[in-house]
Amino acid sequence: MIAGVLWPLLSGLIGLALWEGLVRAFHVPMFLLPAPSQIVLTIVQQGPYLMTQLGITMVAAGLGLVMSVALGLAAGAAIASSRLVDRMLTPWLVIAHAIPKVVIAPLFLVWFGFGLQSEMFFVVAFTFFPVIVNTVTGLKSADPEQLLMVRAMGATPRQVLHKIQFPSALASICAGIKLAVTLAPVGAVIGEFVASNAGLGHLLIRAVGDMDTPLAFAAVTVFSIFGVLLWRAAEWVERRVLPWHPSQRDTFLLRDANT
């Protein structure tokens, strides 16, 4: 248990110490590569400013994510419930996903203008695909015999969706949303590169332009830490939503071998 925390921690400390030592030993200029201590110092000094910018980025990411999940669930349900919709819509989705989003980011500026709106739609473009794909897979993977059983009980199509298909799909949907959660801030930052004068993405571009490399590193560090926290939060929510799922059981019971 202790070894599980100790070794990764030790490895991280060694890496940082090596970095710090090399930068100091070879007098690497700060604009080229700041030492870890310099980055921490910058984060502390610029704390409120960084947090404000992070907040702006996360608002865009959050709004985009909410839209993406809503869109993904609706489209996924439509595709899963109708073969016609599947055949009509899926090719479009695959093509849309295949388009390199980073390349067309400037187009969002043209379509949606400068600022939050543009960023938000870019996040949607960046994250909708895993949500849709996992929703469709989940809804289609309901146990056919369970479907037959509730049909025998006289369930309406709505009840079948609500009582069987959606709960069966929940684990898969969660996996899709978790992917989207990690992609959304990245999408927001790329959106800010081209279409915003605020947020971490904009801050990065400006810091690099000003040769303020420590600030750029500070922004990236804050962003990464927040990304990890976001992932952990998504996992926490998943545990609350899927307490019954095999992936969430902490005890493994060997039951009768014949079941």
């Binding site: 015999e145 009980m153 009582k163 899927l242 009768d256 014949n258 079941t259």
Partner: protein
């Protein structure tokens, strides 16, 4: 043909007993007229209140026959009636227990038992759900998740779920074939108890000869493909039965009679 019409007419007279089942030249062919014939024309009457077992080898059309009676599948020929109502779609008054328990993993035991009440929009059955769990000796697991239960317990939950809306008919499609021999015996005794206490007409499909006899007042022996009824045997033992009844000569004689049918059909080679 005459016999079939007679049964159909008898049904009209007996329409008051609404859970009697009438099959008139019922057949089922899969994949068009040139396809596989699963069930040969079968004509039989299953009066209300009778516990019937259908025993036969795998692939003899037993499960298909049950699906036809439950209205989950349409016959390609013949008529089916329950009481005075022709079967044209899923019959609401039947509780079905399948070979797999089909419990919803995301619901606790009580939630699983309550499922039919939610779907049919019936209120006030929570108390009955708890009573059924108590009768099946799993009251203390009401708040457990299905994965925490053993195979036998899971199937008990499935039985409670089927019985919750007080169906007139209980269909069991090879309900215990995934269980070990001891658990299976225990479940047979339990089913006995329920048949009496719940006053439900049961139709059970099995390929265990002794299970078929033990749990029924009447055994239909099916064979072949297309499936047809080879024999129709009365089981005389009075209820409640104990497992020891299986060791009596009379029980053995019925078992032999069934086995001989399978040997003659080439299903069992002794």
């Amino acid at each position: 043909m005459l016999a079939a019409d007679r049964i159909w007419d008898n049904g009209d007279r007996a329409a008051t007993s609404s859970s009697s089942i009438f099959l008139d030249k019922v057949e089922k062919t899969y994949g068009g007229p040139a396809g596989v014939r699963a069930v040969a024309p079968i004509t039989v009457e299953l009066p209300a209140g009778e516990a019937v077992s259908i025993v036969g080898p795998s692939g003899c059309g037993k499960s298909t026959l049950m699906r036809l009676i439950a209205g989950l599948d349409a016959p390609t020929g013949g008529r089916i009636r329950i009481g005075s109502r022709a079967v044209t779609g899923p019959v609401p008054d039947i509780g079905i227990v399948f070979q797999r328990d089909l419990l919803l993993e995301w619901r606790r035991v009580l939630g699983n038992v309550m499922l039919p009440a939610e779907i049919k929009g019936l209120g006030g059955l929570q108390e009955r759900a708890r009573e059924l769990l108590a009768e099946l000796d799993i009251a203390s697991f009401a708040d457990a998740y299905p994965w925490q239960l053993s195979g036998g317990m899971r199937q008990r939950v499935a039985i409670a779920r089927a019985l919750l809306p007080r169906p007139k008919l209980l269909f069991l499609d090879e309900p215990f074939s995934a269980l070990d021999a001891l658990t299976r015996d225990q479940m047979n005794v339990l089913l006995q108890r329920l048949q009496t206490s719940q006053g439900v007409t049961t139709l059970m499909i099995t390929h265990s000869i002794s299970e078929a006899i033990f749990c029924a007042d009447r055994v239909l022996v099916m064979s072949g493909r297309p499936g047809c009824v080879l024999d129709d045997i009365r089981v005389p033992f009075e209820r409640p039965r104990r497992l020891a009844v299986r060791e009596t000569p009379a029980f053995a004689a019925i078992g032999r009679r069934i086995r001989e049918h399978f040997e003659k059909a080439g299903v069992l080679v002794g």
